[in-house]
């Protein structure tokens, strides 16, 4: 195989040879190569198979717009599919392979699809699988579901590894005055001007080198520019793509840190996802050369003209020997000169007839000629050309390469992210970015400037604009006018060729042809947004950077409109693909979300706790002895609490300090029950409603002093309640003198429950008289000291239904408190109990938690009507009996027993009437447990009409998910000790 590398060209380092593998064969390239340039140098033309038709595909470009050379890099867990070979830097040992082909890209069995083209035309999936009338009418979806997996495998590109990603990614943040996107002549001029005016500047370049399209010039050397930028203190970020612009001058960057290194240091991330907050953004993102649609314009060997210039001058690769350049504009002639100087036989077809151009005369210019058909399949054999677009008299040129330039599209993508619609420029046949009121300025060829000097001038003007807008100067400036070619461009998007089975590609990556666009139009898809979705034009990962304008022009022609009347689709971030790994950064695995632990977390584990996640909290679930299962353990724990005493970590409850002269009034307004008469030294259970009358949360508030309360909330609603209290005080009741402070982290809490709890607690106190039945009755509150002079707060509160206390100490004393309590509890054969036992105890008592208070339940639904004061107004009091909330068929809290007490059931079971088991039934079971006290399974839940309506009726519990059904009976939710005799003991 002969090399296409030529001497004396390119900026690659020929002293540093790199080995790489392509489709399981070994090749060599040089330092400074991209995978694409190395493949071209090794004369590899076919690098993949196309999306639908499995046609051989080559390399179309030299940059991010690439829509043909999508390859898979790496193997096993580092396999990275759909990587553009044109932007993948070569490194020693790089492994790459072609995609969408079996057995390989040179011989692909699915190439037969090319001959079945009519089955793969626009809308193929919709038409074929969404119902084939009349036989399959209405069954289309089922057919689609059956065929989908085969079709998805046949169409589509590379596949992901399916293995955990071994690499790390980072999120990083920075600030600056000015961020400049693109390091072409305009961006560099803007950055230098800004740095000289003392702005703090970041310059972002997606390439590994700065220079932009100047890197395609044979005499370009960026080392001096780099020094100058660095000396001015400009932060240069290469291999970094500005993938999106967001509100308030926030820019998203993806920095590829190690994608070009063969054996990266494991301590550095593969990619960094940057969020840059700037005061002004200058976009000099360049312009992208378009191709031209004509038959077989996808045969390997077709490329943009500018790409070939890049390969020659940057990589020393002459991409063809007999080259035909087809153009409608002046930008190609410098390239034509250089290609012919480098030894290629060049012919230029220029669609324009009147044209003045200076060349080195080493090649022929065919004025007024256009290409209309390429002969060949895996490589180009020859090109059919014709005078004018109407193909009357044609001839054939033997060639091995066809270079195309259908004009240039300024990269308006980043402006599109900001909702700025581009405007069509007839003179330059392209969309130009519109101005925006935001602090964003466009410079260089992104403004449609084709000359370097204009680009530089626009960069300086751009920075002046930025300084003016930032209020740092008031200097007049002007931008050069778009354009800069000597001869005007002549719009040329498609050359028609009326032969059956012809394929002129608009979108290479998604295999969208000009016929697809026409078909879509015939079928009524006349809006560009519909066209895009029906044909999938521009929906591949290149977002139609090369082909979109061609598609629009075809649509305009069909609609008899101008391109600007047809409009354009909106580009959305990202400009180029961003890996999921970079988006998630370090927020993976254990770092996916914060972990909250209580101050006695380690103590709990040391004492045998199995933990469970509740929201962000780790809470003790159960404390198994030796061979106990969860079920053995919680039943033992719950029984022990009822028999003697148990200790449970309740620190995760929200805790709020409420202080100030307005505190009592405040609580009286936010709780549905009265708080105005709560005495100092007493606590009260309270329910908070939302404005709309639905229950928000429940908890207790303890009156510690005249103007000081200690509030507890549920674990799950703690943050919400805190925000809610702050909102009320800062927005609605600004005259109330109240201060609220979250003290959830400051206090460690424990529940000591069971008939022996007072005795245990007494043994732990400095002064045991403090908590006698008289001194501390039910709902009494006291502040005292645990042994060792540890200050504590104690309230006689019961969630379990037993005699019980909640004890709080400062978090620092959590372990001491646990040691003390546990030492004494053991003397009474007590236990440590976890959330599962806590749940069992509260279900037996009919106490509600988040499972019941799910944001749909009123105070009456929860059977807590007594908690709704009739003597005062409070948040939600006006709304709690509105409309549907007062219907008498609402679901009311009840208890459930299985009719056959040996049966079990699960939370989520739907409660139905016998012989009417369907839909949502008449209720649901929300919490279940085995009741050690009753000796069978019990549940809490809701049923329409409540206990009164269904008391002696046999209902059915339907559990379709678990394929289970059982008979149920409805009981009072207070399943044990309904009078509360134990609590008051």
């Amino acid at each position: 195989m002969k090399t296409r590398r030529i001497d004396n060209y390119g900026k690659i380092n020929r002293d540093k040879i790199l080995s790489f593998r392509w489709d399981k064969k070994n090749y060599k390239g040089f330092e400074g190569d991209t995978l694409a340039s190395a493949l071209l140098a090794n004369n590899i033309g076919i690098v993949g198979r196309s999306f639908k038709y499995h046609r051989p595909r080559g390399i179309f470009s030299s940059g991010v717009e690439e829509s043909g050379a999508l390859v898979t890099i790496g193997s096993k867990d580092r396999r990275d599919p759909n990587v553009r070979a044109t932007t993948q830097e070569l490194y020693n040992g790089l492994e790459a392979s072609g995609q969408n082909a079996f057995p390989n890209v040179n011989f692909d069995l699915a190439g037969i699809n090319n001959y079945l083209g009519r089955f793969f035309a626009a809308g193929f999936y919709y038409k074929t699988f969404m119902g084939i009338p009349p036989l399959e009418w209405g069954k289309g979806t089922a057919i689609w579901m059956f065929f989908e997996k085969f079709i998805r495998k046949a169409a589509g590109m590379g596949s992901a590894s399916g293995l955990p990603d071994p690499d790390t990614y980072e999120h990083a943040h920075d600030f600056c005055d000015l961020i400049v996107v693109g390091s072409g002549p305009a961006g560099v001029a803007a950055a230098i001007e800004a740095a000289e005016k003392k702005l703090d500047v970041i310059l972002v370049e997606q390439d590994s080198l700065i220079g932009g399209n100047q890197l395609a010039e044979n005499d370009f050397d960026n080392s001096q520019i780099k020094n100058q930028l660095e000396n001015l203190g400009i932060k240069i970020m290469t291999r970094t793509t500005a993938f999106g612009l967001y509100d308030n001058c926030v820019v998203g960057l993806l920095e590829r840190v190690t994608d070009h290194i063969s054996a990266p240091n494991v301590n550095i991330p593969r990619q960094r996802f940057w969020t840059i907050r700037a005061k002004h953004i200058i976009v000099g993102a360049g312009a992208i050369e378009r191709h031209i649609a004509f038959n077989n314009n996808d045969i390997p060997g077709v490329m943009t003209v500018n790409a070939s210039k890049h390969y020659l001058n940057r990589y020393g690769v002459l991409t063809g020997k007999r080259i035909v350049i087809a153009t409608n504009n002046d930008s190609v002639y410098e390239t034509a000169n250089q290609l012919s100087e480098a030894g290629a036989n060049v012919t230029v077809l220029d669609s324009r007839t009147n044209l003045e151009i200076e060349t080195n005369k080493s090649f022929e210019i065919r004025k007024g000629y256009v290409p209309y058909n390429i002969n060949g399949s895996k490589k180009i054999d020859s090109l059919d050309i014709s005078k004018s677009e109407t193909i009357n008299k044609s001839e054939t040129i033997n060639c091995d390469q066809v270079l195309l330039s259908g004009g240039w599209s300024p990269a308006v993508h980043l402006l599109s992210h900001r909702g700025v619609k581009p405007k069509w420029d007839y003179n330059n046949a392209c969309f130009l970015p519109n101005d925006t009121k935001e602090n964003i300025t466009i410079v260089g060829s992104s403004r449609g400037l084709w000359n370097k000097n204009d680009c530089i001038a626009s960069g300086i003007a751009g920075t002046t604009d930025a300084l003016n807008r930032l209020g740092l100067s008031k200097t007049n400036y002007f931008f050069p006018k778009p354009g800069g070619w000597k001869n005007p461009i002549q719009p040329l998007y498609e050359v028609k060729y009326k032969k059956s089975r012809s394929k002129s590609f608009v979108d290479y990556q998604h295999d969208v042809t000009t016929d697809d666009v026409r078909l879509a139009h015939r079928e009524g898809f006349i809006s560009v947004e519909h066209l895009k979705r029906y044909t999938t034009l521009g929906m591949a990962n290149d977002q139609g950077k090369m082909g979109n304008i061609i598609g629009l022009s075809l649509m305009a022609e069909l609609l008899n409109k101008e391109i600007p009347e047809v409009g354009t689709t909106v580009f959305r971030p990202p400009y180029t693909p961003v890996s999921i790994g970079a988006l998630s950064g370090r927020n993976v695995g254990k770092h996916f979300r914060p972990l909250r632990v209580t101050p006695m977390h380690q103590w709990n584990i040391d004492h045998g706790a199995k933990m469970i996640e509740v929201g962000l909290y780790q809470r003790p679930w159960y404390y198994p002895k030796e061979n106990e299962t969860l079920s053995d353990s919680y039943i033992r724990e719950a029984s022990t609490v009822r028999k003697t005493v148990g200790i449970c970590d309740v620190t995760s409850l929200g805790k709020i300090a409420i202080q100030g002269p307005g505190s009592t009034e405040f609580l009286n307004r936010i709780y549905s029950n009265g708080f105005s008469k709560l005495q100092v030294g007493k606590a009260r259970y309270g329910i908070m409603l939302r404005d709309d009358g639905i229950v928000m949360d429940d908890g207790t508030s303890w009156r510690l002093a005249e103007n000081e309360y200690f509030m507890t909330t549920s674990t799950g609603e703690a943050a919400k309640v805190m925000s809610w209290l702050e909102e009320l005080l800062q927005t609605r009741w600004t005259d109330l003198n109240v201060n609220v402070t979250s003290v959830s982290e400051q206090w460690a809490g424990v529940s000591v429950a069971g008939p022996k709890s007072r005795e245990v607690l007494n043994n732990c106190l400095d002064d045991s008289l403090v908590i006698t039945n008289n001194n501390l009755p039910f709902m009494g509150v006291t502040s005292t000291f645990l042994k060792g002079n540890i200050p504590c707060r104690i309230a006689r509160i019961s969630f379990s239904g037993e005699l019980a206390f909640e004890v709080y100490v400062k978090s620092d004393f959590a372990n001491t408190m646990m040691d003390l309590l546990w030492e004494n509890a053991k003397k009474y054969n007590g236990c440590l109990y976890g959330l599962e036992a806590l749940g069992a105890l509260r279900v037996e008592k009919g106490h509600v938690t988040a499972a019941e208070l799910d944001g749909r339940v009123t105070i009456d639904d929860a059977g807590l009507s007594k908690m709704a004061s009739t003597k005062k107004s409070y948040i939600g009091s006006a709304m709690r009996k509105r409309g549907v909330l007062k219907n008498n068929d609402r679901e009311i809290l009840v208890g459930f027993f299985p009719t056959n007490l040996k049966e079990t059931f699960n939370a989520g079971t739907i409660v139905c009437e016998k012989n009417n088991i369907k839909g949502q039934g008449i209720g649901r079971i929300t919490s279940v447990t085995y009741s050690p006290e009753l000796g069978h399974w019990i549940g809490l839940g809701f049923v329409k009409g409540g206990l009164d309506k269904w008391k002696d009726t046999n209902l059915v519990g339907a559990d379709p998910v678990r394929n289970k059904q059982m008979n149920l009976k409805v009981v009072s939710p207070h399943m044990i000790d309904p009078k509360g005799e134990r609590m008051y003991a």
């Binding site: 967001y246 509100d247 308030n248 926030v250 969020t275 907050r277 909702g419 009121k437 935001e438 307004r669 404005d691 709309d692 943050a719 925000s723 702050e726 909102e727 800062q730 927005t731 609605r732 600004t734 107004s873 409070y874 948040i875 009091s877 006006a878 709304m879 009996k881 509105r882």
Partner: protein, 94 residues
């Protein structure tokens, strides 16, 4: 990313804040009628352009703020504390 200039903390990412809602509602007194409350909590204008809305600096100073923001462009014209007394303090310290 919207950047909100908190009067206490300076300019911060919107991810530090939680959105509240319409800042122009005059909540009726607690003993007002169901009709007044329905009006206050269910009926909202769907403004295209600038509107006053509350944001809570929940991962910052915990203050509730009135933000004047365009629903079209996200441009923010002003940020003030919700509490009128605090508004005065901030105003006087300018």
């Amino acid at each position: 990313m919207i950047r909100i200039n908190c009067p206490y903390c300076g300019e911060r990412d919107h991810s530090e804040f939680s959105y509240g809602g319409d800042a122009t509602i005059n909540y009726p007194s607690l003993d007002a009628s169901e009709k007044d409350w329905t009006e206050a909590i269910f009926f909202r204008k769907n403004i295209k352009g600038f509107q006053f809305e509350t944001w809570h600096h929940s991962n910052g100073c915990r203050m509730w703020l009135v933000v004047e923001r365009s629903t079209v462009t996200h441009e923010i014209k002003s940020v003030k504390p919700c509490h009128p007394d605090l508004q005065k303090v901030v105003e006087n310290n300018k």
